[in-house]
Symmetry: C2
Subunit: 223 residues, 2 copies
Amino acid sequence: MSDVKVIEIKKSIFEENGREADELRAELKSKGVFLLNLMSSPGSGKTTTLISLINKLKSRLRIAVMEADIDSDVDAVKIKQATGIESIQLHTGGMCHLDAEMTRQGLENLPLEDIDLAILENVGNLVCPAEFDTGSCCNAMILSVPEGDDKALKYPLMFSICDLVIINKIDVMPYFNFDMDKCLSNIHKRNPKAEVIPICALSGEGVDRVAEWLMERIADWQK
Amino acid sequence: MSDVKVIEIKKSIFEENGREADELRAELKSKGVFLLNLMSSPGSGKTTTLISLINKLKSRLRIAVMEADIDSDVDAVKIKQATGIESIQLHTGGMCHLDAEMTRQGLENLPLEDIDLAILENVGNLVCPAEFDTGSCCNAMILSVPEGDDKALKYPLMFSICDLVIINKIDVMPYFNFDMDKCLSNIHKRNPKAEVIPICALSGEGVDRVAEWLMERIADWQK
């Protein structure tokens, strides 16, 4: 039905995920590949945000995407169709998160020598993915306006481990009881250093700021 | 700051969750208590839906609510303030779901002899809660319009174990690319028997149907 690659990911046999993650980061560094781990709730707009972001960056960076889902390949197909870049689907076999070894299994299916930026779209879940270091160089998350301004209070670990919090769907703010100041205050309570960028992935508003932020991080990483 | 009871839930020491769940169901049956397990993504409107539902049912049933969250007690406080019924907060200590033993720990803090309907608001997560039988008499979930019509494809287990799928936030359908027919078709692909009820928890639209559906289930259970 579709021509994207689907990888069946197996659960890690290594207990020491932290060590695995550090090793993977070192390898990526030696290869000059920056790995971004993008997390969020189901339906907050990870795929739409990635499409907008990739279309802004693909003339400056060689990019590939790994789409993790329990089932289906709709996201990998969407990314490939909308951006033309390499996109593979990782099936987690019911698992609620990816760890470093599972991420490595995904990366082995990408042509790393031809890639500057690899993006992992993690399983839609604000709890478990926060507990497992994937070996990424940077953690980012999306919170969408319809989810509410109190999420940092309820899912503290996720907000505390992310370098970047993207607030998506700001176009529908008038239709929701969402207080941006309260949201920012809740996020910074959990993580005073978090960069917060409001966007509308559909229209592209704010996505330039995300692109610039990421370019700076990649430049720092490559130093 | 608030006067709701907060329970620190410990991880189950029992491996055999299925057996524990069946035992809990039998005990609840003998006490005439119907336990509803309500699940969803973060921010899909579980608490708002419960407030609307409880206010419709509280003259006909004696109700109590257990609000499970990793942290904070905002939901239990909201329920108590908006409905006046008994509401306790269960802190899961970072856990992404509740199992039967954890649910039992919560129920032990409720006056079961004075309750017809106990409602468990599970952790906001479409993955892990689906894997653990809580001992509930009925599983229900909320999918909100902003999350998209494709979620049943991506989170198959959750949709397959729910007797009732509530589609919330139908008031904002004009602002989202959400196809109700496609959504229903995706849900019924996973679970042909699922009852699906569209609602707007904020205005109360459709909540009467949820209340009637639940009253029928409770009547069947008490036979």
